[in-house]
């Protein structure tokens, strides 16, 4: 595998080389100096946090506040997580076949052989 790839910006695996990452340089105040954070929102109690996007922020505290402003303006959430994008290790497109293709023909892994009783929701 050639260049290292990570999940950045919510777009799946992208190259890291030559791209701004989470090491701020104090000399210049450009957008590239702020690390990228992935944002997860819990819609309501009982649901899992779901990835909604990413943003730039100077640190974790400000990332949470930015996430509140950017992603929960319309009452989308009751809880927020922010994770440094650089902390996420992502699968790469090169590994797609060995990772995911073998599952395609294994129908027995899907719960399709059960009769769902009437009235059962969220299945």
């Amino acid at each position: 595998m050639s260049a290292e790839v990570r999940a950045e910006g919510g777009h799946g695996a992208v190259p890291v080389e030559g791209v701004a990452t989470g090491t701020p340089t104090p000399t210049r105040a450009s957008r590239r100096d702020w690390p990228l954070w992935e944002v997860f929102v819990r819609g309501r109690r009982g649901l899992a946090h779901t990835h909604v996007g990413s943003l730039h922020a100077p640190d974790a505290t400000m990332a949470l506040r930015n996430a509140r402003d950017v992603y929960t303006r319309r009452q989308e959430g009751v809880s927020l997580w922010v994770v440094p994008a650089a902390a996420i290790t992502a699968s790469s497109p090169d590994e797609r076949d060995p990772f995911f293709a073998p599952a395609a023909d294994k129908a027995y892994r899907h719960p399709t052989f059960y009769e769902v009783p009437e009235g059962v929701q969220h299945l």
Partner: protein, 271 residues
């Protein structure tokens, strides 16, 4: 735009048995509070696309819209009590500069991001305890706006505090700019706490809150933030005042021209 503020107060609402003098005073008081929120909303809204980050654009715009949402019911209530048929739009867009009763702090222009944050810090540290006290106002609209605004302004203050800490305790440049912004805006802070006969008489009736009463809390809050951020409390003795009597700084005319020109050029225009 937004739904009317919900009344969250258990304060007595059987207030309109008051005299015409009190009603006129209440109108003035509502205009003071409403104009503060309206003018600051206009300033912050103008920062959209000019903040250092896209995320900060959204943050400032959210704060601006919160403030606009506070201004609207306050101005509408003022127009209703005034009884001259002026609605919130007429009060916002058709009044002259001398009719605006906002404090001079909120009209001060945005020189840089540190200035925006400093203005926000000084104002929200004042507005939060004021609204907290106003949640029990005898005027039900005022109490409702305050009840809704407390949560909003708690966030405005937190946002300003977080940025003050980072700019004050950041780089040499950010610290220098933050201190300069505080020094520049400090003379306008004293006006926030000025009380006069009007506000004292309304405070006795349970409608208003004497702004002087929130000064100790403001001093403590601001001092704590400045100390943690490594910033010096400005020692300025110059005090700028007059906004509550309709006297404004030079920049305010330009703000009004921009804010009002569309409504005046196209009377009655709607989206």
């Amino acid at each position: 735009m937004s739904a009317p503020a919900r009344v969250e107060s258990s304060a007595p609402v059987d207030q309109p048995a008051t005299g015409a003098g009190t009603t006129a005073a209440t109108v003035q008081y509502l205009l003071r509070l409403g104009d503060d929120a309206l003018v600051l909303a206009q300033r912050l809204g103008a920062q959209l696309t000019r903040a250092p980050q896209l995320e900060e654009d959204v943050a400032l715009a959210n704060i601006a819209l919160d403030l606009l949402g506070q201004a609207r019911p306050l101005l509408a209530r003022a127009g209703e009590l005034e009884g001259r048929g002026r609605d919130e739009d007429a009060l916002a867009f058709l009044r002259e500069e001398r009719d605006f009763l906002n404090c001079q702090l909120v009209e001060q222009p945005d020189v840089d991001f540190a200035g925006t944050i400093a203005r926000q810090l000084l104002f929200s540290c004042y507005q939060l305890p004021l609204l907290q006290a106003l949640t029990t106002s005898a005027d039900e609209v005022l109490a409702g706006v305050a009840g809704k605004g407390v949560k909003e302004v708690a966030y405005h203050r937190d946002h300003a505090v977080q940025w003050t800490l980072r700019l004050g305790d950041g780089t040499e440049e950010s610290s220098r700019r933050m201190q300069a912004a505080l020094d520049r805006l400090w003379p306008f802070a004293a006006e926030l706490f000025e009380s006069d006969d009007l506000v004292r008489s309304l405070a006795v009736r349970g409608v208003a809150v004497d702004p002087a009463s929130v000064r100790p809390r403001w001093d403590a809050d601001v001092d704590a933030v400045l100390a943690e951020a490594g910033l010096a409390r400005p020692s300025s003795v110059r005090v700028a005042t007059g906004g509550r009597r309709g006297l404004h700084t030079e920049c305010f005319g330009y703000l009004l021209a921009e804010m009002q020109h569309l409504a005046r050029s196209h009377p009655g225009a709607t989206w």
